[in-house]
């Protein structure tokens, strides 16, 4: 890629977007082909309806669902992978940072609703403000967590900060629960209803009876996620701070000898990762419409898995891993029941998705885009 480096528009804008498009399209097309092939194979087992027709009927929706949740996973996964790249440990409290971002975003919208201005405000402005607030709160929370729970353990064996991270995760869950019960008295944080996000764009597709329905919300989630990924790419590959982050990730002692303030760079890494996680929390909240202090756990676990699937420590890998896992989940959830004639339902989606993950890791132990970043001594 060195030969294109001369043109910054290409390097920091077109190339990453092209890469995202390629990953999204590639993963969707491959999975769709496999599914349709399976549909033809299993066609003779199912007698009450035409399996291929049923498969094609929901295929576009399944892809859209998978991409939407996939981009959310990718955005969270970047937080895991950045911290791993720099500190080589899994920041398990990242899922709570994500949850805090979502809850803060919803609370801001609820505040607007309470003040009676939500209905009159521009809906996109509301989302932008919520994301901005989540960026700030989650970013600073991540930096604080690093200062309190990880920095004192910098020289300790790698398992020690890991345990500290798990402890931090529980601590944050219950602190949020405490704050919520003291302030609002509610356990569930519910997204207020506003704007037109729940509506659909209907696109007529030639050859199909029903129009393709795309929820505006999904487009918004994907759009914001892509925007943030592009900004992150610029930050890491196009600025001096990014260069310093990469230097610290490669070799911390040498970076420090070169005059890089390692502690500051680590803080910045947490700031960026946490902010991304917070923004992803708002996107997830838009989709889920309800959060509670414990709803960070599963998306966080999935995002961590995405990071491993893509190759932990590798930013592009986290992006690809999130998309692949989101799509895998969506496909298996929607088609397992149909293909097995109801023997396995959507409840087995995680088993299927994780089985694929294990198979991938058997053949590529360092992940899909495996570099040996994670294998440093």
């Amino acid at each position: 890629m060195k030969q294109f480096a001369a043109n910054p528009v290409y390097k920091f804008f077109l190339f990453p977007i092209g890469q995202i498009l390629l990953f999204a399209l590639g993963a969707s097309v491959i999975l769709s082909l496999v599914t349709v092939l399976l549909a033809y194979i299993f066609k003779f087992n199912v007698t009450d309806f035409d399996l291929v027709e049923r498969t094609m009927l929901i295929l576009p929706q399944v892809i859209i669902n998978g991409l939407t949740i996939g981009f959310v996973y990718s955005t969270i996964a970047l937080g895991y992978t950045m911290v791993y790249g720099v500190l080589e440990f899994i920041n398990f409290s990242h899922s709570e940072i994500f949850m805090v971002g979502g809850i803060v975003g919803i609370q801001l919208m609820a505040y607007f609703e309470h003040a009676g201005v939500l209905a009159t405000m521009n809906e996109y402005l509301v989302i932008a403000l919520a994301i901005l607030l989540a960026l700030v709160v989650s970013g600073s929370l991540a930096v604080t967590v690093e200062r309190v729970a990880y920095k004192p353990l910098r020289g300790a064996p790698k398992l020690v900060p890991l345990i500290s991270a798990i402890g931090m995760s529980f601590f944050l869950q219950d602190i949020v629960r405490l704050i919520l019960s003291l302030t609002t008295g509610e356990f569930n944080v519910i997204l207020p209803k506003f704007g037109t996000f729940d509506e659909f764009w209907k696109i007529a597709v030639p050859g199909m009876e029903d129009p393709l329905r795309i929820q505006i919300k999904s487009v918004l989630i994907v759009g914001v996620a892509v925007l943030m990924l592009v900004i992150l790419n610029f930050l890491v590959n196009g600025t001096k701070v990014g260069k310093a982050i990469r230097a610290v990730a490669q070799d911390r002692p040498s970076a420090s000898l070169m005059g890089i303030n390692v502690n500051q760079i680590i803080s910045i890494t947490f700031l960026i990762g946490g902010a991304l996680g917070g923004a992803a929390g708002v996107l997830f909240a838009l989709k889920a419409t309800k959060l509670d202090p414990f709803s960070g756990f599963f998306p966080g676990l999935k995002a961590f898995t995405s990071a491993v699937l893509g190759g932990i420590g590798n930013l592009t890998g986290a992006l690809l891993g999130g998309l692949v896992l989101g799509l895998l989940e969506s496909f298996s959830a929607s088609y397992l029941g149909i293909f097995t004639n109801g023997a396995f339902g959507a409840e087995y989606k995680d088993i299927f998705a994780f089985a694929v993950l294990i198979i991938v890791l058997i053949f590529r132990p360092s992940g899909l885009l495996g570099q040996t970043v994670g294998q440093k001594a």
Binding site: N65, V148, F187, T289, F298, A333, E347
Partner: protein, 427 residues
């Protein structure tokens, strides 16, 4: 090193402050009930003088329900219903010289927490009776502990048949059963709504899956097409189920689970373009459902649920209770509050009877036996138990949701009321 020590110390201080903050409300509650009990006790002596107080001592009645977490609205209602009953009805026992206390426990709607609490409850010799739980999946394992210790529990909410069909002397309930409720829901969908197809979803708990299976069996018998039968623990992103539901547009989607999960699904399915009717069971009976799902409940084919605990309007004698409850706790009683009141009433009546028979503080076994002899007029009707702890005849309600916001939950209307005899122990 000093810096590190300082950091550690400040962390400790913060942690202890946090703990103190958490601890405060919990600590207040027993104090409040104690104050109430002593208040009642100071009024009592005049009446007790001729009654010659018995040996005295402390009698505690436990409650176990989720006081925190996503289902706490119902769990707290159970605790508060029981608390109100204790306050209003413990007079006789106090007159006999006993100090009667409430011992509330939080089972977090989680089986292992419930069992751990049950071990604590069993270990406290002063606890003679209990009211709980909300979730059948928590009640079933916890009641094994109660059974071993002969400690009687009266359930205000558990509908899974297994709760009583094990035939334990210690387990009783003041509500109906899922093997009646689910077929009633199916009958309603098939006959009254005229549904041709149904999509069944459950939450993989003992309660949800149990109800869903009874529903499926009834549907298959009637020839109502079951499009799919899915279990899910998903809380946030229901795309996987919403997509086939929207694609196949079944007449009815039957969700066997609890409102905090179902509400999110209803909202997402309606948003995605599902037009049919949602049907649920008693786990949906919470005003929070309207907050979470919003107008998804009233648009399209609307939403109905069956329940064993009717709304306040269904019980003429509960009007005073509703007023007292609102005066004390500042909110209208949620579902199961009246049932919890009745359960506590059963406990108090049985303890009193056992104490009179024993001429002193009764044993747990005596209380458990006395519960089976209880025959009282409760808020929700006549309460007496058959030989496995069920009501001989229980009421079942089918309710149409008219509320798109929590404040309107009271506008829901009763569509049908059924009185069905308990199927007993079965085979």
């Amino acid at each position: 090193m000093n810096k590190r020590l300082f950091a550690l110390l400040s962390l400790l201080v913060i942690a202890s402050m946090a703990l103190a903050a958490c601890g405060a409300p919990a600590a207040e509650e027993p104090a409040a009930t104690e104050a109430a009990a002593t208040e009642a006790a100071t009024e009592a002596p005049a009446a007790t003088e001729e009654a010659a107080p018995a040996a005295g001592g402390t009698i505690k009645i436990a409650t176990q329900s989720p006081l925190s977490g996503g289902q706490s609205l119902l769990g707290v209602a159970i605790k508060q219903g029981a608390e109100l009953a204790l306050e209003q009805l413990a007079g006789d026992l106090i007159a006999m010289g006993y100090d009667v206390q409430l011992a509330p426990y939080d089972d977090q709607a989680t089986p292992d927490v419930g069992v751990a609490n049950a071990k604590n409850i069993v270990a406290d010799a002063d606890i003679l009776c209990g009211v709980g739980h909300l979730n059948s999946g928590v009640m079933i394992p916890s009641s094994e502990e109660y059974h071993t210790a002969n400690l009687a529990f009266v359930s205000p909410a558990n509908t899974n048949p297994v709760v009583t069909t094990r035939g334990y002397l210690e387990v009783n309930r003041v509500v109906g059963r899922d093997d009646v409720q689910a077929p009633a829901a199916e009958e309603f969908a098939f006959t009254t709504l005229g549904a041709q197809s149904v999509y069944i979803i459950h939450d993989k708990t003992a309660y949800g899956q149990g109800v869903a299976e009874f529903f499926r069996a009834a549907a298959e018998e009637d020839g109502l097409e079951v499009v799919a039968f899915e279990g899910t623990e998903e809380q946030a992103n229901f795309d996987a189920i919403v997509t086939p539901v929207v694609a196949t547009q079944p007449d009815v989607v039957f969700f066997a689970g609890i409102y905090n999960q179902a509400g999110v699904f209803f909202k997402q399915a309606r948003d995605a373009g599902y037009e049919g009717t949602f049907l649920g069971t008693d786990g949906m009976d919470s005003s929070d459902l309207a907050d979470i799902a919003g107008d998804a409940l009233t648009t399209g084919g609307g939403m109905y649920y069956t329940t064993v605990a009717g709304p306040a309007a269904a019980y003429p004698s509960a009007a005073q209770f509703a007023a007292d409850y609102e005066a004390k706790f500042g909110a209208a009683p949620e579902a199961y509050a009246a049932q919890a009141y009745d359960s506590m009433n059963v406990c108090l009546t049985a303890i009193k009877a056992a104490a009179e028979a024993a001429g002193g503080k009764p044993s747990r076994l005596q209380v458990a036996e006395a519960i089976r002899q209880v025959n009282i007029e409760g808020l929700t009707g006549n309460i007496a138990f058959d030989d496995i702890g069920d009501l001989p005849t229980a009421q079942y309600f089918i309710i149409k949701v008219n509320a798109a916001a929590a404040a309107d939950w009271g506008t829901n209307e009763i569509v049908e009321v059924l009185e069905v005899a308990s199927p007993g122990k079965g085979e």
